[in-house]
Amino acid sequence: MDLTLMVWRQKSADAPGKLDQYAAKGISREMSFLEMLDVVNEGIVKAGGDPIAFDHDCREGICGTCSQVINGVPHGIEERTTVCQLHMRHFKDGDTIYIEPWHGKAFPVVRDLIVDRSALDRLIQSGGYVSVHTGGVPDANAILIPKGDADTAMDAAECIGCGACVAACPNGSAMLFVAAKVTQLASLPQGRVEASERVRGMIDKMSDEGFGNCSNHYECQAACPKGVKVSFIAKLNREYMKSWF
């Protein structure tokens, strides 16, 4: 099939950006979205131009590196699918596709479709861990964990840190991201000990980094490629209240 792409091009953080048009010709249905971009890029390079820069690594939907807003939706319209797992059979001949970088004050553009997401790392540094040293820990079965709690922790731990939730949120909030980490660790006895400091540290950091607040749009859940649920935000709020008592 033949497609028209409208792609955000921006040389660097301070350079102005704009949408440029490209033709993607002879695209097969089996290709992934990024493979389609590879084909377009090969053409650009052969013509001596600068290929479209985009972030990607695993191409398996697990590293959270790929990050593109496709036709206005982070990761595109397919549910629970990262850009790298999106396949061209979901498009049709003649389509025009708009491709832009993640939006959000906390995610400045680095180049073209690549943004700086280091704010998410700084959120984790503000408490998203258990303060355990290497060595000197009890046997793994010494503390039993009810299956339900372990499953909740795992559901929350599915987060791949791609930032789609922030990009989708009209307020640019990182609530779902923080909620996932807080819920994972608060559900486990190992993480309970520091639960109060963790939730307060992470919430404070969130506003320092320029992330907005949550006003219940639930766009984050819709955009999350791993199906992380907004119910964790309720859990986050409970944990936050609890931390003051």
Binding site: K11, S12, S28, E30, M31, L34, E35, D38, E42, V45, K46, G48, G49, D50, P51, A53, D57, C58, R59, E60, G61, I62, C63, G64, R80, T81, Q85, H87, R89, V110, R111, D116, R117, S118, L120, D121, Q125, G128, Y129, V130, V132, H133, T134, G135, V137, P138, A140, L144, I145, P146, K147, A150, A153, M154, A157, E158, G161, L185, L188, Q190
Partner: protein, 637 residues
């Protein structure tokens, strides 16, 4: 040169604890004076950087991704082994050791492998303490599953994303150290050279992948944790950014490269669908617990699955290996798939595929139980192929996946270049000629959490901190070399893209140095690779400049290294005139097509010393001695 692995003496089970007692320590007050560089932030790098930071060393960590949470290890699916024996099914440290040595076809060092098995239990304890949500049963205990090459259930897992959860555990420990100020992390930074001063590793040269700035960092020791080189095949299950550059450039600076021909082809991947294919997706080996592998008995049988009755199906793994069946080790399962496809029994349009069928398990356990175990894998399969594996069997085919070879290290994980340590998949140490499933995660974390903190101290205790400053002449030279290479790549302005060269190299490697190799195919590769390399340096097109974010330039540098490294692989495969593990030489097989090892002549580690591009490297050998296992034909029948 005969290499010495420096394995400690004494009984196998006591070697590591005795050795630890002999290792020198660094005074706590002095630790912060030592600067350690850690390159790569997969499991090995993240766990090492975090543990060394915690001990109080001054750590500079580098990774090519925008965040260490995205290291390639994140993609591991199936699980991590440990000798806990929680299921009471007869496991022990010795048995894990023995399975691993045997799985590696007796081409690994006994002492290293034993230590790996010994620390495996601590890894699970550590990860649980960090909040890794491993699978549990209804009583709240940890759950285990089986993996290929073992008859016990010793694999711990977190749904189908164990690597992700382990890496996030290590990343959280690393984040904690970043907050504490002991680790300084440099994301989007690619190491492009190792700086060696007077024979010792003293630092690295790095390109900032955003600004293009090239700078050097001096340190008292350098740890390379930069993963494997399976992308030499172009198509592999590895992340797109995985490459050989760090280890290969260290090799060019004097570090020996060991057993480069030992590569693992994973039996269960989604078959390639076209030329544009950029990578192959693994379907976790754990699926073989409940899936049965088969092809039609008839050649070129195009009937839909539902029309092929059971007696017309060849469950070839169950037939050939009755005691291990579908859980036969990877090298054997891959080669068997190739054989049946070579025979014309392969499925799909290309005929390069076999079925992995869950119908029986679904009948026996119900769809919910299968979904609980592998739900996300089935989803992934459907997302890529558009097919529902609950209703029809998966189509799978082998793909390059893991590389057992790597930089040569001694028992302390130190290379032959003093001060250069190599951890995880980047070294060659523990898996011999074939790695068992769920053992790479174990090794990465063993190296990073439980080995390097001890062995590096022993090195540092004999080193004056900050002996060589980054103003040293060698650092300037190294930067000039890196700049010159960038200029050269940008000046060619040819007609073919980097990707085209990589794809072509991959084809040469897969056809000639892939699942089966022969003298003839290897000689062909040794002729074709230098030709292709020459074409690359005449005709590659790399656009843009060096002083900006330039992904083409990044790839060009990596492919340039693969174009030299491929030759080293072929050379190593050619000298190893035996079949062992993942290295199958067609000339050396038994009558029923099994690998024929030659212990008399090839029971050694082949470590290569670079003599410069286009000149033959020199082969050094480390003899392998076995005190506690008896070398046997590796039978899974």
């Amino acid at each position: 040169m005969i290499l010495d692995g420096k394995c400690p003496s004494g009984p196998l089970a006591e070697k590591w604890s005795r050795h630890r007692n002999d290792l020198k320590l660094v005074n706590p007050a002095n630790k912060r004076k030592y600067r350690i560089i850690v390159v790569g932030a997969g499991l090995a790098g993240a766990s090492a950087a975090a543990s060394l930071g915690e001990l109080g060393y001054n750590v500079e960590a580098f990774c090519s991704q925008d965040s260490p949470r995205r290291g390639h290890s994140i993609a591991a699916q199936g699980g991590i082994n440990a000798a806990k024996n929680y299921p009471n099914d007869g496991d022990s440290v010795f048995r894990l050791f023995h399975d691993t040595i045997k799985g590696g076809d007796f081409r690994a060092r006994e002492a290293n492998v034993y230590r790996l098995a010994e620390v495996s239990n601590s890894i699970i304890d550590q990860c649980v303490a960090q909040g890794v949500p491993f699978a549990r049963d209804y009583a709240g205990y940890l759950d285990n599953r089986s993996f290929g090459g073992a008859q016990v259930s010793r694999t711990f897992y977190a749904r189908g994303q164990t690597g992700q959860q382990l890496l996030l555990g290590a990343y959280s420990a690393l984040s904690r150290q970043q907050a504490a100020g002991t680790v300084r992390l440099h994301p989007r930074s690619e190491m492009l050279d190792l700086v060696v001063v007077d024979g010792k590793a003293r630092g690295i040269t790095v390109r900032d992948m955003v600004t293009g700035e090239v700078s050097s960092y001096a340190a008292d020791a350098v740890c390379l944790c930069t993963g494997g080189y399976a992308n030499v095949f172009y198509l592999s299950t590895n992340a797109m950014g995985s490459n050989v550059t760090a280890t290969y450039r260290a090799y060019k600076k004097g570090a020996f490269f060991a057993n480069p021909c030992y590569t693992q082809i994973h039996p269960t991947c989604i078959p390639a669908s076209g030329d544009y294919q950029s990578k192959l997706t693994l379907m976790s080996e754990s699926l073989r617990n409940d899936g049965r592998v088969w092809v039609p008995k008839q050649k070129s049988d195009n009937r839909p699955v539902s029309e092929i009755p059971d007696e017309e199906r060849d469950y070839y793994l169950e037939r050939k290996y009755p005691s291990f069946g579908n859980l036969a080790p990877r090298d054997i399962a891959s080669r068997s798939a190739k054989e049946v496809c070579d025979e014309g029994q392969g499925i799909g349009t290309s005929g390069r595929g076999v079925y992995l069928d869950f119908a029986d398990s679904i009948k026996r356990l119900g769809q919910d139980a299968i979904r609980e175990r592998y739900g996300n894998l089935f989803e992934m399969y459907e997302r890529i192929t558009g097919e529902d594996a609950y209703k029809q069997p998966m189509r799978i085919y082998p793909a390059p996946h893991y590389t057992m070879g790597g930089l040569w290290v001694d028992y302390n994980l130190e290379s032959n270049v003093p001060g250069l340590f190599v951890l995880g998949e980047a070294n060659f140490s523990d898996h011999g000629a074939n790695r068992l499933g769920a053992s790479a995660l174990m090794q990465g974390l063993a190296d990073g959490y439980f080995v390097i903190p001890y062995t590096i101290a022993n090195f540092l205790a004999r080193t004056t901190p900050g002996e060589v400053p980054s103003e040293h002449e060698e650092f300037r030279k190294s930067r000039e070399e890196v700049d010159a290479l960038t200029k050269r790549l940008l000046s060619i302005k040819g007609t073919r893209t980097v990707n085209e060269f990589h794809r072509e190299l991959g084809r040469i490697m897969w056809d000639n140095v892939g699942m089966a190799r022969s003298q003839q195919s290897l000689e062909r590769a040794l002729q074709r690779i230098p030709e292709l390399r020459a074409e690359f340096w005449e005709d590659v097109q790399v656009t843009g400049s060096g002083a900006e974010l330039n992904q083409e330039l990044e790839r060009a540098g990596r492919v340039a290294d693969f174009l030299e490294f491929g030759e080293l692989m072929a050379r190593d495969a050619l000298q190893r005139r035996e079949s062992c593990g993942g290295h199958f030489r067609e000339e050396f097989q038994t009558e029923d097509g099994e690998a024929r090892r030659d212990d008399e002549n090839f029971s050694y580690v082949a470590a290569w010393e670079s003599k410069g591009v286009g000149r033959n490297p020199e082969l050094h050998k480390e003899p392998l001695e076995f005190e506690d296992v008896t070398l046997a034909v590796r039978s899974y029948k």
